[in-house]
């Protein structure tokens, strides 16, 4: 049975064929187009770049983020009349969309903080920045739309129904049938996958947390390898799981925290997703970066498993006679992660973190030095938290 989308496009196709002849004279009329003046552009640009505004997702260059946030620069969606753009900005839009033939799955929230004039300026700026040549938008147009548009968030289907594309853009723009990966826009409960991950031993975990923080935990080295948030969770899983298992998982973002690997040279990092090497950079019997060091314990750490607590994995490792657990959650504001550790029996230890420009690192107890060494007394070690927060998290809409 055809769904709404198919019916509507069928209808439009036949209507368009019918109307085609009558439209031709209009198309032949030259369109007189004037570019916005500098002041309008500069005010629009300032609003675009304001904190919490468009730039956070669509980026300063208007190129968006692959897979999740569509580009504004060169977007077919901005061509023609501005009414569709105004509707999306005012009411928001959910559902996966194709833009210029590429797929994007993040939702666009309605912009409730800006008045009609500001929205008019922003859209005008977007319509004419980065080589775009779109219409200017007036405060009145926005005001009228705000009054008349239905009070609901558009879906990728309903927006196209309400504001159809010109025929030449229809094929590459509009809704598409999402697969499982695309539905992970908002993580509502922890997701635990074991799969091949770049930058980890083959015994790796990929975990997604509510709050859209993602991390790779390595059971081969018994430690957190890296954390990321932009760009969404790993993709391509279905290919991996339905085939011979060869692919290494991929994701679009860049980790904002990555634990140090003493055996890797800086140039090695670009090869960490390789699958076709003759020799490895190192094997886990040479791995020296287990974060917990206890005086007098020379054994390698052993990974022992995990239990799920409200769906969150709590990893267990042993170092000699000590058991160390780690459970990771998003911070309350979803801007970073909190790593909760227990050590049993408690003992004086050092915990080794990797300082970075990209993130701030704090500890619930003990002394954290500039080189990332955290010294914990016996009593502190029993239960401690380390919080890693991404600095300057522009680009995340929570």
């Amino acid at each position: 049975m055809p769904n709404d989308m198919e019916w509507s496009s069928l209808f439009e196709t036949s209507m368009r064929k019918f109307l085609c002849l009558s439209i031709i004279p209009l198309l032949l009329t030259p369109v007189l187009r004037s570019a916005p003046d500098e002041e309008v552009m500069s005010r629009g640009k300032a609003l675009y770049h304001a904190a919490g505004s468009c730039v956070a997702c669509h980026m300063a260059d208007g190129k968006g983020q692959p897979g999740s946030i569509p580009p504004l620069a060169g977007s077919d969606w901005l061509k023609g009349k501005a009414d569709r753009t105004i509707a999306i900005v005012l009411r928001g839009m959910t559902g996966p969309i194709k833009v210029n033939g590429k797929r994007f799955y993040s939702a666009m929230p309605p912009q409730l903080l800006f008045d009609d004039e500001k929205i008019a300026l922003m859209i005008t700026y977007v319509n004419n920045a980065w080589g775009n040549q779109g219409p200017m938008v007036t405060t009145e147009e926005v005001a009228e739309a705000r009054e008349t548009l239905p009070m609901e968030v558009y879906t990728s289907h309903s927006i196209v129904k309400a504001f159809p594309f010109e025929k030449e853009f229809q094929k590459k723009n509009g809704p598409y049938k999402p697969n499982f990966d695309d539905l992970l826009t908002t993580v509502t409960e922890p997701i635990v996958y074991r799969t091949f991950m770049p930058g980890a031993s083959p015994a790796a975990f990929a975990i997604a947390l509510p709050g859209n923080q993602y991390y790779c935990w390595d059971a081969g080295e018994c430690r957190l390898q890296y954390v990321w948030t932009k760009g969404g969770f790993i993709r391509g899983n279905q290919v991996h799981w339905s085939s011979n298992g060869k692919p290494v998982a991929e994701f679009n973002g860049t980790p904002y925290y990555r634990a140090r690997s003493s055996q890797l040279a800086p140039e090695d990092y670009s090869s960490l997703g390789d699958t076709n090497r003759t020799t490895p950079f190192y094997d886990t019997t040479e791995a020296t970066d287990f974060p917990v060091k206890i005086k007098g314990v020379a054994e390698l750490p052993r990974y022992r498993g995990y239990r799920l607590i409200d769906g969150y994995p709590e990893f267990r490792s042993t170092l000699g006679r000590y058991t160390i657990t780690e459970l990771i959650k998003s911070t309350d504001d979803n801007l970073g992660i909190v790593r909760s550790f227990t050590v049993s029996p408690p003992t004086e230890l050092t915990f080794h973190l990797t300082p970075t420009e990209e993130a701030s690192i704090t500890s619930s107890s003990g002394e954290l030095s500039d080189d990332g060494t955290l010294r914990l007394s016996e009593s502190d070690s029993e239960n401690f938290q380390i919080t890693i927060i991404e600095k300057n998290p522009a680009g995340i809409t929570k």
């Binding site: 499982f180 997701i191 635990v192 996958y193 074991r194 799969t195 091949f196 930058g199 980890a200 031993s201 083959p202 015994a203 059971a219 081969g220 080295e221 899983n237 279905q238 799981w241 339905s242 085939s243 011979n244 298992g245 060869k246 290494v248 090695d268 090869s271 960490l272 390789d274 699958t275 076709n276 090497r277 003759t278 020799t279 490895p280 950079f281 190192y282 094997d283 886990t284 019997t285 791995a287 990974y303 022992r304 498993g305 995990y306 239990r307 799920l308 607590i309």
Partner: protein, 640 residues
Amino acid sequence: MKRTLIFTVVTFLSWIAQAGTSPHYTINDIPVPPSKFSSSQIDGLTFLPDGRLVVCLPSGEIFFYDYETKKWELFAQGLHNPLGVIALSNSELIVSQRPELTRVRDTDGDRKADDYEVMTDQFGMSGNYHEFHFTPVRDEEGSIYFALGTGSSGNGIRPIVRGRFDPRGRPGRMHSSTPYRGCVVKLTKTGETIPWAYGLRTPNGLGFDLKGNLFATDNQGDWVGSSKLFHIKKDRFYGHAASLTWKPGFEGIPLETSAAELYQLRTRACVVFPHGTMANSPTQVLAISEKAKIGPFTGQLLVGEMNQPRIMRVMLEEVGGELQGACVPFIDGSPLRGGCNRMDFAPDGSLYIGQTKHSWAGSQGIQQVVWDGTTPFEVQDVKLTKTGFRYYFTKPVDREIAGRKETWSFLRYYFEYHESYGSAQMDESVVQVDSINISEDGKVVDVNLSELKAWYIHQLNINQLSSADGDKLWNSLVVYTLNRLLENTPPEPPQFSESTKKKKRSIEPIPVKNPRGIVYEAERALLDGPVTDTNHSGFSGTGYIDFGNGDQSVKWTVETEVEGINEIQFRYALGSGRARPLKLLVNDEEVATLPFESTESWTKWVDLVAKVDLKIGENTITLETTGKSAGNIDHLQLVE
């Protein structure tokens, strides 16, 4: 190409001859679990003590199925390619997944697993996709055995590997560069992980018979002339060289050991599944237990097959202190699907089968085989006699047909032991029937042969035979792996061959410097795969190198005093019409793919010039195939 074509036709014909499942068995499709990854490949299958069905999916999900309510319940998720499962209780499973053997438990009674405990991860993973962790089995004491696949030259290894990397096990078509790849491993009750047996390639199936003997299947490939069933015993070596890396006392490099020496070390298969005739990719071994309702075959083994819709039946006997025996197709042809990877008997005695493919031949889904309780006309057992074979049938045979010599069509051959992939049927000949004796009740037939030859596979086709009451013999291909005779077994003949190509493999690059300082002969460089040859004249030095198929490479160590761009030339000849590109690596980093156009003759040598960025001192230059063969390379010259 030609060889493949012929092979395909033969295979097709022999499969057609067997198509169609015996009418005594009904095959039902079972609904598949509601995986959120929309795949219904089944990689693990067993039953809980309470009778519910358990299945593992490649997506890492484990579902339980109540076949009375016909409802699926998700029990666990997030596992890495789980390929086998044992149910310890209604809330506790042992699962083999790529990185470990894991105890998966529901500890709070909410019917969902919440504890994933490592039982053992004390084995290696290079990250190669072919390093599967095959099904676990448990003995009566509670020890667990599992089988680890080798890595494939279809891809390399990962930048970080788990477990100790040993370069001795890395070369070759299927490799074992981290511990115990290609081994059966035992996890003792006290938690020790020990390599139990060596020399396996792709052992996608373990199983005990009712007497406690452990078996493993292996898939045809390098060192495995045709797929096999091995009787697994401690510390034995079963033929695939790579895993010798992990055998205590073996000091050498597996692939530098002669085939003759390996042939002496290895234990023969108790049953060989002739490739293209019986099976191309055998899977799980399942003993037919007392509770099984599948016909009068208690104590025998079932073995699944990936490539065609077939489940085989294996009949063994002890001869000369070792097990050997026969296999027959059993559940065969449509409506059974291919990809029969895991199976188990349900509480009602019917057989459940999980099907998978993982991008190879196979299918997906779950099927159930139900026997109608009437006696099918089948070969019930086979025993070796001093002069031939004794066949036991489930029903009296048609005496007239059975009494004709031409009813019994025997073929004899062996599969050669060698490094290259698979083997033809060697020294194949028809064996004449000397005489036939049929027992009074018509259920036992002694077939005496003109000659009974040890260490040969004896393949019998009796598709003309029917029972006294007119039943067709549904499974008429009976293949007996005759290793030992009842008495006076001759020593094993040399059924092996050394690699016909002269190999020069080494673990460390051998720096080669030509006296002239600028010409580096290919035949003296580090070769992984290519062989030295002298057939086509015009080469410099003592020869040139010839690439084969698969991933092969030549690596030179050159020295330069020029920092930055250096010009290098490869002298080569390529007689075939098409370009055969090679990857160029400088200091192990891929920098380009060089075209290597045809030179129109194998004796026409030309130079291909490339500019590369070198550092002062020693640099390595590598040419690597892209999976296909390449031109002959004579030398590398550093242009001054």
